[in-house]
Structures are given as structure tokens and as C-alpha cells.
């Protein structure tokens, strides 16, 4: 007779209750793994939309640009800066910005014109793959522009339609020209959706009479890196000290907070769920102890030390939570993997996309099953089970044999 076998037999003794407890813990575990995978998916999609489509990991500007985005606040030594970044193992792409008015027919809307380096931009963002209809920019089509989906709706244009742009060129003259819509973007974020107007860099320069320089350099690591975001920022800042270097967390604090809160909400949900499951476990284990109180008295009278009784109760709980974990994995992994390919479709709630604080959230909610989404719920399940059994295990182990033997 060893303690493990003794504990296992005790579990079989109240088979129905054991099954209910394992089932409840397993189901809660499965739900939480699935929920964690959904949140990971949400974070991944949000980061992909915001960082992978627009912001990049790190951005470089002249010091005054972010506070006052002026057409004259340019990075003049962009080639030198990008060469340095390349040597450090980063991809980078220059961007140009200017404000203007887009008009089509009798409608008009303020836009932010974006001059894009069509060769370098795909290295830092995936925006070129985020076209809802039509095509991305092409250097062979200098008058072809890509616009945000809400802008297209506001000014009532579709693919092939013409748009007039009016703005102020760098020399103070009026910049205006006629462009043709060659692509309409999927939702990226409120800024791009409502005012995004993409054109190739050369066209931008010609419209605004900007021969050189850029307003922004977007930077991402060229390969998978173990460096943290802060380390990358510090490294780039040290390499290019003359410009302002900020990472996406500093540039988009609201987004960073939403992502942090989403991660924190998982922990809160885990605590709430497992506190409930913990009460069930506590209840079950207390019933278990009270039913066997006489037996504990006998085995203590026969000389079993308290720690062995504590171990028996703990082993019973650990066995139950281990089986529940396997059950949870068995239920949650296939479900989460299925939802990695077949997302939950929330488009009936938000037809195109929902935006919160200017950040677009995809109505297709994918799961992202990571080691974190599996291990964190299981860790909490074990933690709360251990906490829940402490009281019954201590009660059983510290029981006075005489009182227990004559317990009625």
C-alpha cells in the first residue's frame, strides 16, 4: 500500500462526486484555455492591425514633428539613417505626410496624404496586403492612389473613380492634381479608414514639391530577435541620436493600454472562474474529509503521522486536477485550433470593423493557441485547487484521533 494508490482508491470510493468535480474543473479549464486563446488572438490581430499595418515597432521623426506635424519638419539624412539601421539588423522605410482636401463630385473630405516607398514599405508593414478591393500602389501607375474605406464612402468614390487633391506645397504654392482610385483599404484604424490617402513617394514629392527628406522612418527588426522593445528603442536611439526615436507603445499608448488590459483581464477572469471552481473543490474535499473523519481518527490512532494524511488529501486533489487538466486540453485544443482557421464572426455586431480609440478591431475573431494560453489557465487551476484543499487537508491531518473515532 502506498499513498498514491491509497489516494487513487479513495477517489474511486466516491466515484460520482469525483467525476462531477473533475468534470467541473475540466470544463472550466477548457473554457479558460479557449478564452485565453481568443484573447491571444485578439491581441495578435490588434497588434497586427496597428503595428503590422501602420506603426511598425519603432518610428523615427525629427524632434518637433509628433507635436506639430509640419511638412517642413523633415528627416534630411534618411539614407544615412536607414543604412545605419540596416547594419544593426533592422528593416526601415521612409514615409511622407501632408494634409490636403480630397474632392470627388460634390463631396470633399480632409485627408492625410501618405507618400510611400513601394519597395521598402512591404519590408516594415503588411499594409500592401490589406487592400479590400483593387490593388496596392504601383510605381508604373503614378496617378493611381489607394484610399481608406470610410473615405471612399464619404466622398462617394469607387475603383477607377477620379479624385482631386488640393493642398499646400512646400514652396507655399497650391498643390493640386487629379488621381484615380486603384485600391480601397480594409479597415486598419480610424485614421487610415477615414483620411488615409496613399500614393507613391515620387508622386507625393512631385505634388508637394519635396525633392528630398521624409517625415517618418518606420523600423522593424529584419529577423526574429530576442531583444525587447525597449532594448531595440535604446539601440536605435543610440545609433541615431539626432532624431526622436519612439516605439509603438510610446506612440500609441492607448493601444498599449488596451493590450495590457486585455492580458490583465485574462488573469482577472482566471481568478474569478477558478475562485468559483475552488469553492466547488473546497466543498467536495470538505465532504470527503467529513465522510471519512472516523477513518482519519483510526489511522491516526494506528500511528499515521499528520503529514501523511495531508499528503493523501493533497494527492487526491492533485490527481483530480491532473485528470481535469487532460480533459481541459482534450476539449480546448481542438476547439481553439478550429477557431484559428474558422474565426468567430462578429460582423453582425460590427459589419466592417469596430474601432475603439481609433484602433480597428477585426470582426473576425481568431484564436491564437500559444503556450501562454494553455499554461496560464492550467497554472491557475492547480494554484486554486491547492489553495482550496489546504483547509480540508489541514483539518484532516490535525484531527484528534479520539474525537474523530467517536465522531457522530
Amino acid at each position: 500500500m502506498n499513498l498514491f494508490s491509497y489516494a487513487a482508491r479513495n477517489l474511486r470510493r466516491s466515484g460520482q462526486r469525483t467525476c462531477i468535480m473533475i468534470g467541473a474543473m475540466g470544463f472550466a479549464g477548457a473554457i479558460m484555455i479557449f478564452y485565453a486563446a481568443l484573447l491571444e488572438g485578439f491581441i495578435m490581430t490588434t497588434e497586427k492591425n496597428a503595428i503590422g499595418m501602420e506603426t511598425g515597432q519603432v518610428q523615427i521623426h525629427v524632434h518637433t514633428y509628433l507635436d506639430d506635424p509640419d511638412i517642413y519638419s523633415q528627416i534630411t539624412s534618411q539614407d544615412e539613417a536607414m543604412a545605419k539601421l540596416n547594419r544593426l539588423g533592422y528593416h526601415s522605410a521612409p514615409r511622407l505626410f501632408a494634409f490636403g482636401l480630397a474632392a470627388a463630385g460634390s463631396s470633399s473630405s480632409g485627408v492625410m496624404l501618405r507618400g510611400v516607398d513601394t519597395e521598402r514599405e512591404p519590408l516594415v508593414t503588411g499594409i500592401h496586403q490589406h487592400v479590400k478591393s483593387g490593388n496596392w500602389l504601383d510605381r508604373n501607375d503614378p496617378t493611381g492612389v489607394v484610399i481608406g474605406q470610410k473615405l471612399a464612402r464619404i466622398i462617394g468614390v469607387g475603383l477607377g473613380d477620379e479624385i482631386v487633391i488640393v493642398g499646400q506645397a512646400a514652396d507655399g504654392s497650391m498643390a493640386n492634381d487629379l488621381y484615380r482610385v486603384r485600391g480601397i483599404m480594409k479597415s486598419v484604424g480610424e485614421g487610415i479608414d477615414r483620411a488615409g490617402f496613399f500614393m507613391i513617394q515620387e508622386t507625393f514629392r512631385s505634388l508637394f514639391l519635396l525633392d528630398e527628406g521624409c517625415h517618418e522612418i518606420v523600423v522593424v527588426p529584419s529577423k526574429n530577435t530576442t531583444k525587447s522593445l525597449d532594448e531595440m528603442t535604446a539601440e536605435i536611439r543610440a545609433a541615431i541620436p539626432q532624431y526622436e526615436v519612439k516605439n509603438w507603445r510610446q506612440l500609441r499608448p492607448v493601444l498599449a493600454r488596451i493590450i495590457d488590459m486585455t492580458s490583465a483581464s485574462l488573469v482577472v477572469m482566471l481568478i474569478v472562474t477558478y475562485a468559483a471552481v475552488g469553492i466547488l473543490t473546497l466543498n467536495g474535499m470538505l465532504m470527503n474529509v467529513f465522510e471519512r473523519i472516523r477513518e482519519f481518527g483510526i489511522i491516526k490512532a494506528l500511528g499515521m503521522p499528520p503529514w501523511k494524511i495531508f499528503t493523501i488529501i493533497s494527492l487526491e486533489a492533485i490527481m483530480q486536477v491532473s485528470i481535469a487538466s487532460i480533459l481541459a486540453l482534450f476539449l480546448a485544443i481542438p476547439l481553439s485550433l478550429y477557431c484559428e482557421i474558422h474565426p468567430l464572426n462578429l460582423s453582425s455586431l460590427a459589419p466592417d470593423s469596430a474601432t475603439i480609440a481609433g484602433i480597428a478591431f477585426d470582426p473576425l475573431w481568431y484564436c491564437d493557441l500559444t503556450s501562454n494560453s494553455i499554461l496560464l489557465p492550467l497554472f491557475f487551476m492547480f494554484l486554486f485547487t491547492v489553495l482550496a484543499i489546504l483547509y480540508p487537508a489541514l483539518k484532516a491531518s490535525l484531527i484528534q484521533p479520539l474525537k474523530a473515532i467517536y465522531h457522530r
Binding site: 470510493r13 477513518e295 491516526k300 490512532a301 494506528l302 500511528g303 479520539l402 473515532i405
Partner: protein, 231 residues
């Protein structure tokens, strides 16, 4: 020849507080049990038999006086030491058998040996020989719910004698069995006493036990009313 004293009770009292009332369960009782005795405490309900047995078994402590087992005073021993004393030197046979329901007859009988850390091989030899002795070798793999009351009590006796304790305390061991089974159990315990020198102290109402006991100690109101060799 003077036999070695296993149990010595010196002026022990046990007073329970029941609300504002003090109940004296054992009243300044002194007693000695020598090695190899086959003795019985008897008396009416509430006379203090079980309380005395519990104090000898280190399950309860006296309000005053000393309990001495094999020359060691129990007063002042910590829980661990008392637990070890029960495990190694005292065997218990309870009225309601009190076997562990999830363990087989063999496992119940080896329970205390396993706690003592006796090696598996030696354990097996000793337990099988004892089960043979109590007539349960063929039923070693059965669980308590697959055994009759008498068989369960035999397993309890096997469990009590397996670690070769100094004394076996048997609290109404024949109370829950029929007459034939009770006689069988008493035969078994008598044989163990005669052949192996196992010391038994019973607490009983049962005339059959009193008929077999070689020393009868009558308790009345927590005091020894009579103590003598059985005729």
C-alpha cells in the same frame, strides 16, 4: 516469577467539563498490567472502562496522575512521540472493526508495518503468516465490504498483532458479532496470548469475554471495585 509491567496507572483521574458541571469519569485509579496478561475491564456503562483504555492507548490524557507504558511516562510526550508509541507498542481492536474500507484484508493487516517502514518482503512474510494464523490467508485480497463481521474483526486482530506491540487494547471486540463468531475470536485471541505471549486488555460487557479473561477488573464510578483472578 515477577513478570515485566507493561502498563502502570498511578492515581489517574479524568474529569470532563460538561457545561458548568464537572463529571469525573475516572477517579484516582491505579492499576498495573503485566506482560502476557489476558485481562478484562468490566462494569456498567459510564463506569470509565473506555476512558481508561483510551488513556492507556495514548489517545486521551488524564487530568491528573501518570500513565506509564513500558516504563515511559506519557505525560510530557509530544504528539509525534505519542503517535510513534501507538504505532509501535500498542495494538487496537475496536468494537466496529474500523478497517480502512479501500484496502484489502492483506493491506489492512500490513498497514501499521508499512507505517513503521518494515521492508516489503519482511512485511509480506509476517502478514501472510498472521493471516494464516487468524484463518484468513485465502481472503487476503478481499476488501472489508466483502468480509463478514467476524472476518473483519479477525483482520483487525491481525492488524493489531502484526507489529508485535507490547499490549493489545480491545474495546468490546465481540459486541458486533454472533455468539459462534465471538467464541471463535476469543479462541483466536486466547491462543495468541498463550502461544505468543501477546498481552490483551479488554473493555467489555460481554460475559463470554469475562469467562475467558484470567484477570477481571471491575470498574464502578471510575474506581476499581474489584480486581482479581478469574475463577
Amino acid at each position: 516469577m515477577n513478570r515485566k509491567s507493561i502498563v502502570e496507572l498511578n492515581q489517574i483521574c479524568k474529569i470532563y467539563q460538561q457545561g458548568k458541571l464537572q463529571v469525573t469519569a475516572v477517579d484516582c485509579l491505579s492499576l498495573q498490567i503485566a506482560q502476557g496478561e489476558f485481562s478484562a475491564l468490566y462494569g456498567p456503562s459510564g463506569s470509565g472502562k473506555t476512558t481508561v483504555l483510551n488513556m492507556i492507548g495514548a489517545l486521551d490524557e488524564p487530568s491528573s496522575g501518570d500513565v506509564i507504558i513500558e516504563g515511559k511516562t506519557l505525560a510530557g510526550m509530544d504528539r509525534t512521540a505519542l503517535s510513534r508509541l501507538r504505532r509501535d507498542r500498542i495494538g487496537f481492536v475496536f468494537q466496529a472493526y474500523n478497517l480502512v474500507p479501500v484496502l484489502t484484508a492483506y493491506e489492512n493487516a500490513e498497514f501499521v508495518l508499512a507505517l513503521q517502514g518494515v521492508p516489503i518482503r519482511e512485511r509480506r512474510q509476517r502478514v501472510m503468516s498472521i493471516l494464516e494464523e487468524v484463518g484468513l490467508a485465502d481472503l487476503a485480497d478481499r476488501r472489508p465490504d466483502e468480509l463478514s463481521g467476524g472476518q473483519q474483526q479477525r483482520v483487525a486482530i491481525a492488524r493489531a498483532i502484526a507489529p508485535e506491540p507490547a499490549i493489545i487494547l480491545a474495546d468490546e471486540p465481540t459486541a458486533n458479532v454472533d455468539s459462534a463468531t465471538a467464541n471463535g475470536l476469543l479462541d483466536l485471541m486466547e491462543n495468541l496470548n498463550s502461544n505468543k505471549g501477546v498481552t490483551f486488555l479488554f473493555s467489555t460487557h460481554d460475559q463470554r469475554v469475562m469467562d475467558r479473561a484470567r484477570r477481571l477488573i471491575e470498574l464502578k464510578d471510575g474506581k476499581i471495585a474489584s480486581d482479581g483472578v478469574s475463577p
